[in-house]
């Protein structure tokens, strides 16, 4: 069954125990000036970062686990009863019996729940009853380019003498599904947590780049999007993922490419709602219905969840006039502009 994005948003409001874990956020931003600076400027600035990391490190480590069963990976506990976020390629086949190892070496029975092949997110549940150390998960999209973060994991597998390994770095780039950082990763780290400076999980280690200081983590947003399906031990494929959700037929009428600030309009169809709203090539759409556009997929899904005649509010940067204007646009009927094709649905939204 395919779920629409709006449906997921409603689901996330339900008081499900495990969803609460991913929505909890009580901590405050770190106060030191270095976290507002473009770069640390002095040893004192660096020490402030060190102190901030240390203030949350022990709690972060206590919740970080080694996951054994499909080789050795890492993960992080996010609820007292032992729900574990990890990478999809670490949790593996849903239902498979695996083991979760706490940092003191305690080996617990666990079960793989679902995973997303699209985002490489995965869920594992500790099946032995107990109260486990856990950490909060940051709300989606609370981490930004340039933010200081730290990575924890079991590179090379569990090693009690060595313990968990820390790496400190910055966010290089973030898209809907992926955070890129300069935290160094290697085999065994996969599935381990990326933390913000107040110790909330903001990502899960997923892939490495050929360059040592450029690695990739799954975002919280990617986890949230596929949450109910993963919890139900499903494998979410790229086709199920929100990049290709069911269209409701709303139509804007632009050609566009991704842009650091949102999506850049490269063409406007004549007589389309976009043309009526006086959108022009060169304009940038930064928000749809108050949601910040991080990449094309998100834009696509936010438009696609509306039907013909429904209104969306766009925030745009006009190439010629400047400013960040709010425009209300009534979407047209896609079928009237583009005759529906037979066969597979094209990916464009």
């Amino acid at each position: 069954m395919k779920l629409t994005f709006s449906c997921l948003l409603i689901l996330s409001l339900l008081a499900m125990e495990s969803l609460k874990a991913i929505d909890t956020s009580s901590a405050k931003k770190p106060s030191h000036a270095v976290f507002e600076k473009k770069v640390p400027e002095s040893p004192d600035d660096l020490i402030a970062i060190e102190k901030q990391v240390l203030s949350v490190l022990e709690k972060s480590k206590a919740a970080t686990v080694c996951i054994q069963g499909n080789g050795s990976g890492s993960g992080v506990i996010i609820s007292e009863d032992g729900l574990v976020l990890t990478a999809g390629h670490v949790s593996g086949e849903p239902g498979k019996k695996i083991h979760v190892v706490l940092q003191d070496g305690t080996k617990l029975k666990a079960k793989a729940l679902g995973r997303s092949a699209a985002a490489d997110s995965g869920l594992v549940k500790i099946t032995e009853k107990g109260k486990y150390p856990f950490v909060d998960v940051a709300p989606p999209a609370t981490v930004h380019k340039g933010d200081w973060i730290f990575a924890v994991g079991h590179p090379g597998g569990f090693d009690k003498e060595r313990g968990l390994v820390l790496r400190v770095g910055r966010v290089i780039h973030r898209s809907t599904d992926t955070i890129q950082t300069d935290c160094k990763l290697i085999g065994g780290d996969s599935g381990g947590p990326l933390f913000d400076m107040i110790g909330r999980v903001v990502g899960i280690h997923s892939r490495v780049s050929k360059k040592n200081e450029q690695n990739f983590h799954v975002t919280v947003r990617a986890f949230k999007r596929d949450w109910d399906r993963m919890l139900a031990s499903k494998i979410v494929t790229i086709d199920d993922s929100f990049a290709k959700i069911d269209r409701k037929g709303g139509f804007l009428g632009i050609k566009r490419v991704s842009h650091p600030k949102g999506v850049l309009i490269t063409g406007v169809l004549g007589n389309s709602p976009a043309a009526s709203a006086k959108l022009r090539p060169g304009d940038i759409i930064t928000h749809v219905d108050e949601e910040k556009i991080e990449d094309l997929n998100l834009f696509r899904s936010l438009i696609n969840q509306h039907g013909p005649g429904e209104k969306v509010i766009l925030k745009t940067i006009k190439r010629w006039e400047g400013g960040n204007d709010k425009i209300e646009v009534t979407l047209g009927d896609r079928d009237k502009f583009i005759p529906p094709k037979k066969g597979p649905v094209p990916p464009e939204g």
Partner: protein
């Protein structure tokens, strides 16, 4: 399943190797390189401690090519560097902190720590000021010079201080996992890359029946015997080929030289030190140094050397010997040298 001798095979989950990002330019929507952890702007925050690192670091050259760094110890021109990087290297010279090429000589080295005491012209560089490890913990900022002492790089102490076992050399053979412990001899199934046993003329199917004076019945017998020898040491073996017993002498290789190419994590780590194990006490940090940048001081933010880098181990791991161990070893090497004179 075939199993490697003397190497714990840990099946690891590998992050998928993402597409090459090898573009030098900044992408519009990425954090500029200068502002990243090891970006030009960020490392300026290391301040005077960065300058201290530079002033106390020498580069060791072989035929004009940088092979290691060294830490300046005193005004007499003593310095320490990583011994195993200098093995078999010819035409050694050094670069002073201000880039002048100078003469150097080796005094003596210590197998246990892999440190070599060397000497350059008196007054070269600034003698390092040692710091203790009292306030050093996981998360402590550290900085060291990278290859040819060209650039300061920073990171944090990343794991527990500990010993790293497994100093022994290897034969570079894969042995029959189905050996019968009651029967004499274990068959060689395959050779690893750069296998010293293969180099000496051993063949697939040869039965190892004796290592030194020990009769071999199982793989464990072999590994227990080989474990007693360091890399570059010679071991006597006896092979049964058909009916014929053949004696061999094999110079053991570094485990890294043979098995790194079979280890996925090592393959994705780029170049690492050939000796990265067999240390009684190390600090682990995350600075992504080149294996040619071992031997230089590991500085804290106060500009005090809390250790000397001794091994680039993998993509996320560099080891440094703690300052106290370095100081003790240097004193020992100096005393030995005076004894010799």
């Amino acid at each position: 399943m075939k199993q490697l001798v003397q190497i714990k095979v840990v099946a690891l989950i590998l992050p998928l190797l993402a597409a090459s990002e090898a573009l030098g330019q900044d992408f519009l929507d990425e954090l500029p390189k200068s502002r990243r952890l090891n970006g030009e702007s960020t490392i300026l925050a290391f301040g005077a401690a960065g300058a201290s690192a530079k002033d106390s670091t020498l580069t060791v050259l072989s035929n004009g090519k940088a092979i290691a760094l060294a830490t300046v110890l005193d005004p007499e021109g003593h310095a320490v560097t990583k011994a195993s990087e200098l093995e078999g290297m010819e035409e050694l010279s050094a670069l002073s902190p201000n880039g002048d090429e100078i003469n150097m000589s080796l005094i003596s080295s210590d197998q246990k720590t892999d440190l070599t005491l060397m000497k350059v012209e008196p007054g070269t560089g600034t003698p390092v000021r040692w710091g203790d490890l009292e306030n050093v913990h996981q998360g402590t900022w550290v900085g060291s010079m990278n290859h040819e002492a060209e650039k300061l790089m920073i990171g944090v102490v990343s794991a527990k201080r500990r010993s790293i076992g497994g100093r022994s050399g290897v034969l570079g053979v894969l042995l029959d996992p189905n050996d019968d412990p009651k029967e004499l001899g274990v068959a060689i199934m395959q050779f690893g890359p750069n296998s010293p046993a293969q180099k000496e003329g051993m063949r697939q199917g040869d039965l190892v029946i004796r290592v030194e004076d020990k009769e071999i019945k199982s793989r464990k017998d072999i590994s227990e015997e080989i474990k007693k020898f360091a890399p570059t040491e010679e071991v006597r073996l006896k092979i049964l080929r058909g009916e014929e017993g053949i004696p061999f002498k094999v110079t053991l290789n570094y485990m890294s030289n043979v098995f790194d190419m079979l280890d996925r994590n090592q393959r994705m780590s780029g170049l690492t030190s050939k000796r990265k194990a067999g240390f009684s006490d190390v600090l682990q940090h995350e600075i992504p140094l080149s294996p040619t940048a071992m031997g230089g001081p590991l500085m804290n933010l106060k500009g005090l050397a809390i250790g000397v880098n001794i091994a680039r181990s993998d993509r996320v791991t560099t080891f440094a010997l703690p300052s106290l161990l370095v100081k003790e070893t240097v004193e020992k090497l100096k005393a030995q040298n005076q004894g010799n004179n």
